[in-house]
C-alpha cells in the first residue's frame, strides 16, 4: 500500500518534470520575446478570473450564512448573553460591509485595469485628502466600537449581584468537579496539600466546608438566579467554557478566578426551542490540557427553584461523605480559596 502510494508520487513527479521540459522546449521553439513576460491575453484572463473569484467568494460566504445558520449556537441563555450577541452582530454587520465593499473595489480594479500593450497607467502618487478620509473614518468608527465594546465588557465582568449562589468549578486532568457552598453560602477552605484518597479537592477541616456539596457529571443552577463561579485548577491551566451562556474563564493553578452570570432559559425550555429533547448545556475545557482535553466535560442543568431545591436536597454534604481522619495537613498560611481579590490578581 505504502509502496503503491510512493510509486504514484514518484511517477507524478516524473510526469510533471517531463511536461515542464516539453513546455520549456515549445516556448523556445516559439522564440518567445522576453520583453513581454505576461501577454495581453493572460492579463485579460487573470483580470476576469479575479472578478469571477470574488463573485464566487461572496456566493460561498452567502451559502455558508444560509447553510450553517442552524448549526451555530442558539440564543444566549444568560442575562448578559443578548448584550454580547448584539455587540457581535453589530460588529459582524460592520465588518461584512468592509469585507464586501473592499473586495468589490479590489476585484473591479483587477478586472478593469488589467494591462495591455501601449496602455499608460495614471501617475497618482498620493492625495492627502484621500488618506485623511481613510484614516479619520476608521478612527471614528473604531472609537464608537471601542466605547460600545467596553460598556458591554464592564456590564458583563462587574455584574455585582449581592445574592449570587457561590459554586466552585474545580478542574483537573481530565474532569470537572462542582462544589456548592451549602447553607452558609461560604466555601470551605481547601489546599492542594490536603488532596488524598477520598478528598479530591483537598478540603480542609475548618467547619465551613462541612455543609459543602460536591458533585460530578452534572451540576444544577436556577433560572434567573445569579451564580458566582469560582474556578480552580490543581494541575495545568484549563478553561471553563460554557458557550450557551456566553461565559468563559481560565482555571489557573495557584490562583482563583471568577465569573458571574444569571441563566435565563431552563434546560427544558431550551430543549423545546431547539426541538431536541436530548439537548444539554455543557461545560467544556477550552485550554489545551493534555491527551483527553477534547473530552473534559460536565453537563449543566438549568431548572426552576423547586426542582433545584429537590435536587440539592438529594445530594450529600461533605460532612456526610468524607471519611474520618482524611485530613492530615495543617491549615496552611496561604489558603487558596479565600482571597477576596477575586479575578483581580
Amino acid at each position: 500500500m505504502t509502496f503503491l502510494i510512493l510509486a504514484v508520487i514518484v511517477l507524478f513527479v516524473i510526469a510533471g518534470i517531463r511536461v515542464m521540459s516539453i513546455a520549456a522546449l515549445s516556448a523556445e521553439l516559439r522564440n518567445r520575446r522576453q520583453d513581454d513576460i505576461v501577454t495581453d491575453a493572460e492579463n485579460r484572463n487573470q483580470g476576469n478570473f479575479w472578478a469571477l473569484f470574488v463573485i464566487g467568494l461572496f456566493a460561498f460566504f452567502a451559502w455558508q450564512l444560509y447553510a450553517y445558520k442552524d448549526k451555530l449556537l442558539p440564543e444566549a441563555a444568560s442575562a448578559h448573553g443578548p448584550e454580547i450577541d448584539m455587540l457581535f452582530n453589530v460588529t459582524l454587520v460592520l465588518i461584512t460591509i468592509v469585507f464586501i465593499g473592499t473586495h468589490i473595489v479590489l476585484a473591479y480594479q483587477a478586472y478593469k485595469h488589467a494591462g495591455y500593450k501601449g496602455k499608460k497607467a495614471v501617475y497618482f502618487a498620493h492625495s492627502n485628502k484621500l488618506e485623511m478620509i481613510w484614516t479619520v473614518i476608521p478612527a471614528v468608527v473604531l472609537t464608537g466600537l471601542i466605547a460600545y465594546g467596553l460598556t458591554v465588557w464592564n456590564d458583563v465582568i462587574y455584574p455585582g449581584a449581592k445574592d449570587a449562589t457561590v459554586i466552585e468549578l474545580y478542574s483537573k486532568q481530565f474532569d470537572w468537579t462542582a462544589r456548592y457552598a451549602g447553607k452558609d453560602n461560604v466555601l470551605g477552605r481547601s489546599d492542594f496539600r490536603s488532596i488524598g484518597e477520598g478528598n479530591d479537592l483537598g478540603m480542609m477541616e475548618d467547619g465551613k466546608g462541612d455543609d459543602d456539596i460536591i458533585v460530578k457529571g452534572e451540576f444544577h443552577i436556577v433560572k434567573d438566579k445569579p451564580v458566582l463561579f469560582k474556578f480552580r485548577s490543581r494541575d495545568v491551566i484549563h478553561s471553563a467554557y460554557m458557550p450557551h451562556f456566553r461565559a468563559q474563564m481560565n482555571c489557573v493553578p495557584g490562583m482563583e478566578t471568577t465569573f458571574e452570570f444569571t441563566p435565563t432559559i431552563t434546560t427544558a425550555e431550551m430543549r423545546k426551542k431547539l426541538g431536541n429533547d436530548k439537548f444539554n448545556y455543557v461545560l467544556l475545557c477550552n485550554k489545551i490540557c493534555g491527551a483527553a482535553h477534547y473530552n473534559m466535560q460536565m453537563d449543566i442543568i438549568v431548572e426552576t427553584q423547586e426542582d433545584y431545591n429537590k435536587w440539592l436536597s438529594e445530594q450529600k454534604t461533605w460532612a456526610q461523605v468524607r471519611q474520618p481522619k482524611t485530613q492530615t495537613a495543617e491549615i496552611s498560611n496561604t489558603p487558596n480559596t479565600e482571597p477576596a481579590s477575586g479575578v483581580d490578581m
Binding site: V38, L87, Y241
Partner: protein, 615 residues
C-alpha cells in the same frame, strides 16, 4: 533628510572601509573569477548574502512542506475521526496504531505545525530570505555589514531546525502543549508525554532560533542604517526595506523577552524553581513548587508573541508594496503614509499583547486598556489596505504570478483583519477565545496573507535568486488552487467558532452539540488537501526552474529598484564596477514625460523634475 545623508558612505571606498572585515573587499573592481572559492566556502559556509538568502529559502521550503503535511494528517483525523488510514500507521508507526492518530500525537502535530510555520517558515524563512537578499541589493551595498554574523545567523537557524525536526522522532514524542507552550502543561512531564524530552528539545531549538534571529536582525538594522549608497536617503528607500528594518527592530526588542520566558521555563523544568508553578497536585503527589504564576509566562510570551505577528506580517506587506507598484506600473500610493503606518503598527504591536489574555484571570480593567490599543491598530492597517487598492486604480496591471499572490495577500489581509475587530473586543472574546474563530482569524491574516507575501517574493525575485524565470502558467495554477484552497479551509472555520467548537480538540465526537458540524470539517479537509496538492505544482516549478528554467533577462519586470541593475549571474560584491548612485525614489512608474513606463533609481532627475522638486 540631509542630516542623515551626511552619515552615508559617499563613495565606494567608504563602503569598502565599512566592510573592511571582508577578505575580498579590495578585489571588487577586478574580475570576479579571480576569487578562489572552495565548494565549502561558496555553498556551505558562505558569507555572501545572496547565498545565505538561498540557504534560508531552501531550508524554509523544506520545513514548510513538513509542517503542511502535518496539517493534512491532523485534518484527516478532524474530518473522519477514528477512521483508519493504513498509510498513517505505515508512516507514523506507533503514533497511529491501526491507522488512527494517537491523541497525544495529534497535539504534537498541532504544536509542531504551529511552531514550524510561525517561526521557521514565516519568521526565519521570510525575513531570512528576503532581508538578506534585498537589503544589500536594494540599498546599493556590497554585502551585509557583517557577512560572518550573517553566516552564523543561518547556521544557528539550521541547527535550530535540525533540533526541532529531531524532536519529532524521539520515544516520548515532541512538544505537545500547543505552540504557545503554556506552563504548567509544558513544565511538567507528568502532565503529558510531550512535556518530557520533547519539550526540552523544543526549548533548545527555540533558544538557538532566537540567537539566529537576533544575529540576523542586528545585521539588518546596521546595514540599513549605514550601508546605503549615495543618494539613498531613508525616504528614498523602497518600502520592502522599510518593512525589513522595522521588522528587525521588532525582533531585537521582543525576542529577548521570549528568551527570558524560555529560560525561566527551563529553570522551572530542570532546576526546581517556581516562576510559573504553584499549588500543583499531579501524578498522585503535591509538588514542592510554590508561589509562581503561569500568568507571568503568558505576559512574557505574548510580549514577544504579538510583535511576532507583525514580525511575520510586515515583510509580507513590504514585498507586496514593491510587487504591486511594479506590476501596476504605478507609484505606490501614499509612500509616506505607508511608512507611517508601518511605524504605527510596529509601535502599537508592543502594547496589545494583553488581548491574548482577556479571560486568563488578568485584571479586567487591564483588559479594557488592551481593547483600546488593539482596536487602534486597525487604523494603520486600514490605511495600508486602502493604499494598496488605490495603487491598482487606473494601473496597467501586469498579472505576473507574483502580482496575483500580492493581490491575494491584500484580500487575506482584509478578510482576516476585520475579524480582529471581533476578537480584540474583550466582551466578544469571552465566547470566542480559543475557538475555531481564532484559528480562522490568524490563519487568514497572519498565515495565508504572509505565506502569499512569501510566494509573491519568491516568484518576483526568483530571477535575482537563481538567474532564471519560473514557469508562469504553473504559477497561475498554483496561485488559484492555493487561493481557493486557503479560503475554503479558513472561511468555514469562522462558523465552527461561532458554533462554539474549541481549538486543539482531537475530535468533536464527544459532544452531541457538535454532531451537526461533521460535514463542515469534511469540506475543510478536502480544501486542505486541494491546497496541499497545489504546493506540489509549486515545488516542481521551483526546483525545475532552478536547474532548467528559462534564463532571465537582467530586469524582467522592468522595475526601478537597484537589485535589477546587478548582473544576472551572482558576483561577489554585487556590482562589477562602482556602486550605483541613487537619484530618485523607487516608484517612478509611468511618470508623465518619460520615455519608458519605469525610471530606475539610478537615472538622474531631469531639469523639469528638479524644478518640480521631485523626490
Amino acid at each position: 533628510m540631509s542630516a542623515m545623508e551626511t552619515n552615508l558612505p559617499h563613495s565606494e571606498s567608504d563602503v569598502k572601509a565599512v566592510v573592511a572585515g571582508h577578505a575580498h573587499a579590495h578585489e571588487h573592481d577586478e574580475d570576479e573569477h579571480h576569487h578562489h572559492e572552495t565548494f565549502i566556502s561558496k555553498y556551505i559556509f558562505s558569507q555572501d548574502h545572496k547565498m545565505i538568502a538561498k540557504q534560508f529559502l531552501i531550508t524554509a521550503v523544506f520545513m514548510g512542506v513538513i509542517a503542511m503535511l502535518m496539517s493534512v494528517v491532523f485534518r484527516l483525523q478532524l474530518a473522519w475521526p477514528g477512521k483508519s488510514f493504513p498509510v498513517l500507521e505505515a508512516v507514523l508507526g506507533k503514533w497511529a496504531p491501526g491507522g488512527v492518530l494517537d491523541p497525544n500525537f495529534y497535539l504534537a502535530l498541532v504544536t509542531i505545525h504551529g511552531t514550524i510555520m510561525v517561526f521557521f517558515v514565516l519568521t526565519g524563512g521570510l525575513s531570512g530570505t528576503f532581508s538578506n537578499l534585498l537589503i544589500p541589493l536594494q540599498l546599493g551595498a556590497r554585502d551585509m555589514a557583517s557577512g560572518f554574523l550573517n553566516m552564523l545567523s543561518y547556521w544557528f537557524f539550521f541547527a535550530s531546525s535540525c533540533v526541532m525536526l529531531f524532536s519529532v522522532f524521539i520515544e516520548s514524542g515532541p512538544a505537545s502543549g500547543g505552540w504557545t507552550v503554556y506552563p504548567p502543561l509544558s513544565a511538567l512531564e507528568q502532565a503529558m508525554p510531550g512535556s518530557g524530552l520533547g519539550m526540552t528539545l523544543w526549548l533548545v531549538s527555540m533558544s538557538l532560533f532566537i540567537v539566529s534571529s537576533l544575529l540576523g536582525s542586528l545585521n539588518y538594522i546596521v546595514t540599513v542604517l549605514n550601508l546605503r549608497t549615495k543618494g539613498m536617503s531613508m525616504t528614498r528607500m523602497p518600502l520592502t526595506i522599510w518593512a525589513f528594518l522595522v521588522t528587525a527592530i521588532l525582533g531585537v526588542l521582543s525576542f529577548p523577552v521570549l528568551f527570558a520566558a524560555a529560560l525561566l521555563l527551563i529553570f522551572d523544568r530542570s532546576f526546581g524553581t517556581s516562576f510559573y508553578l504553584s499549588d500543583i497536585y499531579i501524578g498522585g503527589q503535591a509538588l514542592e513548587h510554590n508561589g509562581g504564576s503561569p500568568i507571568l509566562y503568558e505576559h512574557l510570551f505574548w510580549f514577544l508573541g504579538h510583535p511576532e505577528v507583525y514580525i511575520v506580517l510586515l515583510p509580507g506587506l513590504g514585498i507586496t508594496s514593491e510587487v504591486i507598484a511594479t506590476n501596476a506600473r504605478k507609484p505606490i500610493f501614499g509612500y509616506r503614509a505607508m511608512i507611517a503606518s508601518i511605524l504605527g503598527i510596529a509601535f502599537l504591536s508592543f502594547i496589545v499583547w494583553g488581548h491574548h489574555m482577556f479571560i486568563t484571570g488578568m485584571n479586567p480593567f487591564l483588559g479594557s486598556v488592551f481593547v483600546f490599543t488593539t482596536l487602534l491598530i486597525a487604523i494603520p492597517s486600514a490605511v495600508k489596505a486602502f493604499n494598496y487598492i488605490t495603487t491598482l486604480w487606473k494601473g496597467n496591471i501586469q498579472f505576473t504570478p507574483a502580482m496575483l499572490f500580492a493581490i491575494g495577500l491584500v484580500s487575506f489581509f482584509i478578510t482576516g483583519g476585520v475579524t480582529g475587530l471581533i476578537l480584540g473586543d474583550s466582551a466578544l472574546d469571552i465566547n470566542l477565545h480559543d475557538t475555531y474563530f481564532v484559528v480562522a482569524h490568524f490563519h487568514l491574516v497572519m498565515g495565508s496573507a504572509t505565506i502569499f507575501g512569501m510566494f509573491a517574493g519568491v516568484y518576483h525575485w526568483f530571477p535575482k535568486l537563481f538567474g532564471k524565470l519560473m514557469n508562469k502558467k504553473m504559477g497561475y495554477v498554483h496561485f488559484w488552487l492555493t487561493f481557493i484552497g486557503a479560503y475554503g479551509v479558513f472561511f468555514p472555520m469562522h462558523f465552527l467558532g461561532m458554533a462554539g467548537v474549541p481549538r486543539r480538540y482531537y475530535s468533536n465526537t464527544e459532544f452531541p452539540i457538535f454532531d451537526n458540524l461533521v460535514d463542515i470539517n469534511v469540506m475543510v479537509t478536502w480544501f486542505a488537501i486541494l491546497a496541499a496538492t497545489a504546493q506540489i505544482i509549486f515545488l516542481l516549478n521551483f526546483f525545475y526552474s532552478i536547474f532548467k528554467g528559462q534564463k532571465s533577462p537582467q530586469n524582467p519586470w522592468k522595475a526601478n529598484t537597484l537589485e535589477w541593475t546587478t548582473p544576472v549571474e551572482h558576483i561577489h560584491g554585487n556590482w562589477p564596477g562602482a556602486i550605483p548612485e541613487v537619484h530618485r525614489w523607487a516608484y517612478d512608474y509611468s511618470k508623465p514625460g518619460m520615455a519608458d513606463d519605469f525610471v530606475p533609481q539610478t537615472v538622474p532627475l531631469t531639469p523639469e523634475e528638479e524644478k518640480e522638486g521631485a523626490h
